[in-house]
Structures are given as C-alpha cells and as structure tokens.
Point group: C2
Chain length 221, copies 2
Amino acid sequence: MAKRQARFTAQELADDPRLRDHSSALWREELGDVQRGLLTSAVRCFAANGFHATTTRDIAEGVGLSPAALYVHFPSKELVLFEIVRTGHERVLTHIQDPSVLSAGGDGSANRLRAVIAAYTSWHARHHVAARVCQLELAGLTAGHYEEILELRHQTNAFFRDAIARGAADGSFAQVDVKRVTRAMLSLSIDLVRWYRLDGSDSPEELGEFYAGLALKMVAR
Amino acid sequence: MAKRQARFTAQELADDPRLRDHSSALWREELGDVQRGLLTSAVRCFAANGFHATTTRDIAEGVGLSPAALYVHFPSKELVLFEIVRTGHERVLTHIQDPSVLSAGGDGSANRLRAVIAAYTSWHARHHVAARVCQLELAGLTAGHYEEILELRHQTNAFFRDAIARGAADGSFAQVDVKRVTRAMLSLSIDLVRWYRLDGSDSPEELGEFYAGLALKMVAR
DNA sequence: GTCTATAGCCCGATAGAC
DNA sequence: GTCTATCGGGCTATAGAC
C-alpha cells in the first residue's frame, strides 16, 4: 500500500547542494527566530517534494522540533506556504521597482529594460529555492490566498510590459508584439527555478546579465 | 482539520476551457478505451491540482467509475503518472526528430533550428495539459522511474544543443554560449505549460513560429 | 513553548460478490 | 470488469502535561 512518499527527507535536504540559496535572509523582520527557521525548513521541503508531499512532521524535523510545535508558530500548513509565497512575491516586486536598481545602468529604455531583466533574473537565481515554491506551488493555496498572490503577479507583469512598451513607443526597440515578448522574457527568468543551482557555472549576476542581453536581442531594431 | 483539498473537482475540470487540449489523442495504441479515458481524466486532475492532491477517487470519478475500478487497469496511482510522463516524453522526442518536420523549412542550420524550436513549442502548446504534467509533476515519480525519464530528457536536450552548436560551428550563428542559449530556448517552450490555453490569442503553430523567430534573434550574428 | 499522545479524517489499495 | 465495503495506515491538527 504505497503512501504519500516524499522522495527526500528533511535531513537529506539540509545538506543538499542543489537546495542551497539565500532564502533564509528573505523572511519578514517581525517574525521570530523559530518562525524563520520553520519557513526555511518548509521552503526546502516544498521545493524538493512539493507542498502536498510535505508533512508538518517534515517541516518540524528540519529544525529539530516535534510536529505539534509548528502550530504554536503558524495556524496551519497552508499558512506556512502562504507566508513563503507572499513574502517572495512582495520582495521581488520591491526589488525590481527599487530606484537604485533601475538607474544602475544609465538612462534610456534599453538600459531600463536591461536593469529590470537583470534584477528579476538574478533575484530568482539568488533565491531559487523560495522562488521555485512561489512559481510552482501556487495550487496549494486556498482560493482566497491565491487571488491575493495573483494581484501581486499582475503588478509585476505590468511593470515588465511597461518597460517594453516604452521602448517600442520611443523607437528604442522594434515594433514588437508587447504581450508576447513580455511573456517570453518572464518565462526565461521564471523557468530557471527548475534547474538553477548556486554551485553551477553562472552566478546570479552573470545569469541576469546574460538574460538581459537576450532580452535586448529580442527587441532589437 | 484541513485535509488535502483539491481546489477543483473532476467534474469542474471536464468543462474548464483552460484545460482543453489534445492529450486524449496522445496515449499508446495498445491501451484500451477505459485505460485511455482514465489517463485523460488523470492528466487533467494532475495538471490542475498536482499529483499528490489528486486522489484515485478523483481520477475514477472523471470517467464515471468507482475508485476500485482504476486498479483493474493500472497497478498504482504512481504508474498512472509514469504512463503519462513517459508517453509525453517519448512523443515529443519522436516529433522533433521526425525527418518531415525537420526538413519542412528547407536546408541549412537556421532553417533546421527554426523547425526544431517551432515543433517543440507547438507540441507543448497543443498538448499543454499533458506537457504540464510532464514538466512539473516529476517529483511524484519513484526514483527509478524518474531516472528513466531523465534519460529521455537528456536526449531531447542533446538534440537542441546539437542544432545550436552546428549553426555556431558553420558560421550561420554568432559564437554564442551553446549551453546557456540551449537552456534559454528550452525555457521558452517549457514555461508555456504554466500559462498557455488553446482558446487564447495564439494557436500552437503561431506561438511556435513566434518562438522560433525569437530563437534565431538570440543567435543572430 | 515544548513535549507526548491521540482524535478524527481521508487515502491508496484490496477482498469478494455479481 | 464493475461494484460495495473496508483494511491498514498516514495525515493535519488538537489536548493537556510540564
């Protein structure tokens, strides 16, 4: 009688080089140490095995607590997922809207798009374990929480679309199909959560620069 | 006590326009009608709710059978997933290697790459529900079955890499980083399983042509 | 705030009649 | 090959001691 089997246990995950990232620095400042530890454990479990294959025991074991201790810090497993997904979406949106990030490469539509793509891509690489959960585990959310996340995603998408539409309007870019190009550029950054690892050949910044270069080729006149 | 809740039931899924695709024409000819019906029901459930959130009751209800009937046709839920994932990977590999598909656009490295990208992309769009399961539900497989699928994926990746490396070697393309460009092109096609729907603005063939165009811009001299 | 113990439910899979 | 009924067991979440 085959039961829900997580392919990897919390113990194995803690030492897996594929799951090394900077997610533990992501959580909200208001949270306590134990809460942040539980989120870091949960994000690894969810990323490796999926939300529904992860048990509350897995999450708690990852920080050396009993299963019941989780419920002192979070009211349910779904709210652990929601905290992870909401934090990730808020952080990446804030990051790409950061004026110092946006103006780093200089003025003009091309520099602006380059900066946005590089920032969005390198963020996903740097936090690829949490980003994987944000991108691929949305089906574990309740309908209400899912709607909240969709609203944040629409803001992010609009930000990309505007950066591309601006360059197309001022003649910096070719007359591209903005909707289709926007989706293609988002796909490049989002899909890296399936394969990226920090100990691979590209640093987050290198990959961000490479994808920014590809993006500019997509819209070149 | 919140239980494993699938956000959508099999009944809702059958009429959901987002889940319309051509997966029912995908299954192996040796299989019987009931088996193929179960696979079509399962692929919708897995795509919408995930493998672990789907129960054998959900799958069976989708074809009007009792939960026990599933086990006459498949030995376990995991083998239903494996049949779907293996069939999808074999079909898409055969499709991009089809000589009539490859030579459709004419000779030369650029036409070859264009044909491969267009075929791979349009296949994922046409079968986006099954393709979503193939790309995003691999964690539900046993370790042994996962290894079998990885082998098929390596063959597909090698086929892309060769098409790009050939154009870089014969001067048709710029001296690109073949490994990184291969991943980027695969990402474009794979990530569409998250958002594509057949009743959207692009047909599978239109999207295939568009992404083939983007791919050629990525390697343009 | 942590633990042990367990309630209460649901799930994958099986037994056995038809 | 389909059904009804159910087993065995794991799951989320809670109760209550410390």
